[in-house]
């Protein structure tokens, strides 16, 4: 009997998230993939999950899961895990994924492994690979508790692959009562993002504290427009409010794997490298020859971004025939 691997299914912007499909793909490779899908979801959600390898979907569309944070999903998941005893449950390292995994690990007293990049099952125990300290090392960990093993997995760890299939659907009941309604979601506000989204971009130009001010991003936007790239940023400049959070690349921001990543005035803190070191080509410009970013760059230029990037912009314009 293949082991049952559960995935916590998530919906964002009206679609099953890509990360959910990554996890379902992996789950179907390792064992029998089953998905827990709670709250509102698009009409084709079940079909989509089946295409990526889900054999079964545990489903409740009860609005309680949309209206109240953590607790309804926690009650429903804890009860189902108790009945069904899957070998592993996978969560994406997202806001909802981390919250539910955290809640279950405390409720079931089983712990959880976070920041997982890959995993394997060996004789009923799980071996998870965790890139440590931003990838300077790689560790493996296991969970010694009995029962279902909870793993919180980094986005983009696996390639989503459509294999075709029609999952069985089992309706699950939603919890009720005042106790699970203690944290209310009163309103959802969408903040529009300008330009291409970094998590989908094939080219990224990113800025860090070495730009010295928010105004430096104007130059990066000019370069990005010429390349058809998105603009990203480090946590330091997002924290300094130079640019919005949606642009943050790194362990606590977005994980990206573009064809090219041009790092401008970025030293390469562990937290940032964790989010971008899978890029196919990495180019870095920084004044500090000791900057860690140079250790992973295909081409590193030790120099002033305000000299190097304008020259690059000029050179691209010439090559494109925009100027002679």
């Amino acid at each position: 009997m293949p082991e049952r691997i559960w995935v916590y299914g998530e919906v964002s912007a009206g679609a099953i998230t890509t990360t959910t499909l990554e996890l379902v793909t992996k789950a179907a490779e390792v064992g029998t993939a089953e998905v827990l899908l709670l709250g509102s979801a698009p009409a084709d959600a079940i079909e989509t999950l089946g295409q990526y390898g889900a054999s079964k979907v545990f489903r409740s569309a009860d609005p309680i899961f949309d209206d109240y944070l953590i607790l309804p999903a926690l009650e429903a998941a804890a009860a189902l895990i108790g009945q069904q005893q899957p070998a592993v449950m996978l969560f994406a390292s997202t806001y909802a994924g981390r919250d539910l995994a955290a809640g279950l690990s405390a409720r079931l007293d089983c712990g959880a492994i976070t920041d997982v990049g890959d995993f394997a099952l060996r004789d009923g125990s799980v071996e998870a690979t965790i890139p440590a300290l931003g990838g300077a090392y790689q560790n493996t960990s296991t969970l010694v508790s009995e029962g279902t093993k909870l793993l919180v997995v980094r986005p983009k760890s696996f390639e989503p692959t459509a294999v075709g299939g029609h999952p069985e659907v089992e309706e699950v009941s939603a919890p009720g009562g005042a106790d699970v309604r203690r944290v209310q979601i009163a309103e959802r506000v969408d903040v529009p993002v300008e330009g291409p989204q970094i998590e989908k971009a094939l080219k990224i130009v990113a800025g860090g504290r070495g730009l010295k001010s928010a105004e430096g991003f104007a130059m990066l936007h000019e370069l990005a427009d010429l390349l058809g790239a998105a603009v990203g940023a480090t946590r330091a400049v997002v924290d300094a409010a130079w640019v919005p959070y949606s642009m943050q690349v790194g362990q606590t921001g977005k994980t990206v794997k573009p064809d090219v990543y041009i790092a401008c005035g970025i030293s390469g803190a562990i937290q940032h490298l964790a989010g971008m070191k899978g890029s196919k080509t990495i180019i870095a410009v920084n004044t500090d020859p000791e900057a860690p970013i140079f250790k992973i760059a295909d081409l590193g230029v030790i120099g002033d971004v305000y000299l190097v990037i304008p020259q690059l912009i000029q050179e691209i314009k010439q090559r494109k025939g925009l100027i002679s």
Partner: protein
């Protein structure tokens, strides 16, 4: 109003860290320590709430002897009480063990609000705050980028993939705050001087009734191996002698990127 902040004291973020292959933990000797910037943000948010609504802030940290430096920093910023969970028996705790110790320490006194950073700046697991809330049986409001307390309820703006959500709950509750939520105050010199004389209460695992329930032996997560990932083939690093921009363009063109 009594606000409790749980935060970490972490190795100096400017020094590259090494892992000891024997203990499988970060090598901490000879490395300076500082109050985690994420914890400083949580302290700042707590102080803003007690500044506006009255009451006091207690700071709790679990960590090695050097962690007192972070407690003194919290005192200098303006917290009223500092609590240090200090015991070799805590060493090697996983996230759940850490949450159990912090929850047990929080429960020792009545409180209205617990504030944590969403994740520490050195390990980023990001699950301890919700674990604490579940262990305490209080609501968790997570990933807050804005917080307001009105009467007996708390309201936050919770970061989401597409913007934010407005989330509310009754007190007592726990909130986790994102790193950019505020600019932590610079401790005034007077505060720094006074902080040196403030008492730091230390608690052991047995003080908390957790002997055998925390630390490496009780951890659900076991580190199996530590090692180096396959190295990325080293690229070329050049000094910009006035040709840096053009060199980048040449590489981009060679790889079909322009």
């Amino acid at each position: 109003m009594h606000v409790i902040v749980c935060g970490k004291v972490i190795p100096d973020t400017t020094v590259p860290l090494q892992i000891d292959p024997k203990t499988k933990r970060v090598i901490r000797s000879g490395i300076g320590h500082e109050l985690d910037p994420a914890a400083a943000g949580a302290v700042e948010e707590a102080l803003r709430i007690t500044d506006a609504h009255g009451g006091e802030v207690t700071f709790i940290t679990m960590g090695i002897a050097d962690a007192t430096i972070g407690i003194r920093k919290a005192y200098a910023m303006g917290v009223a009480n500092g609590l240090h969970l200090l015991d070799d028996a805590f060493a090697g705790s996983d996230t759940l063990g850490t949450a159990k110790a912090l929850a047990a320490a929080i429960k020792r006194s009545p409180f209205d609000l617990v504030i944590c950073g969403t994740e520490s700046s050195d390990s980023y697991s990001g699950i301890v705050p919700v674990q604490i809330a579940i262990l305490l049986g209080i609501p968790a409001l997570t990933f807050a980028k804005a917080v307001s307390v009105e009467g007996n309820s708390v309201r936050i703006q919770r970061q989401s993939e597409t913007g934010y959500s407005v989330v509310t709950a009754e007190l007592p509750a726990l909130i986790s705050v994102t790193s950019g939520i505020n600019e932590p105050r610079f401790p005034p010199l007077k505060g720094v001087m006074a902080a040196r004389k403030m008492p730091i209460e230390t608690l052991s695992a047995s003080d908390l009734g957790l002997a055998g329930a925390v630390g490496e032996s009780a951890a659900r997560e076991r580190v199996l191996t530590v090692g180096a990932p396959p190295a990325r083939t080293a690229g070329e690093v050049i000094e910009d002698g006035g040709e840096g921009g053009r060199r980048i363009a040449v590489l981009l063109a060679a790889r079909g990127l322009i």
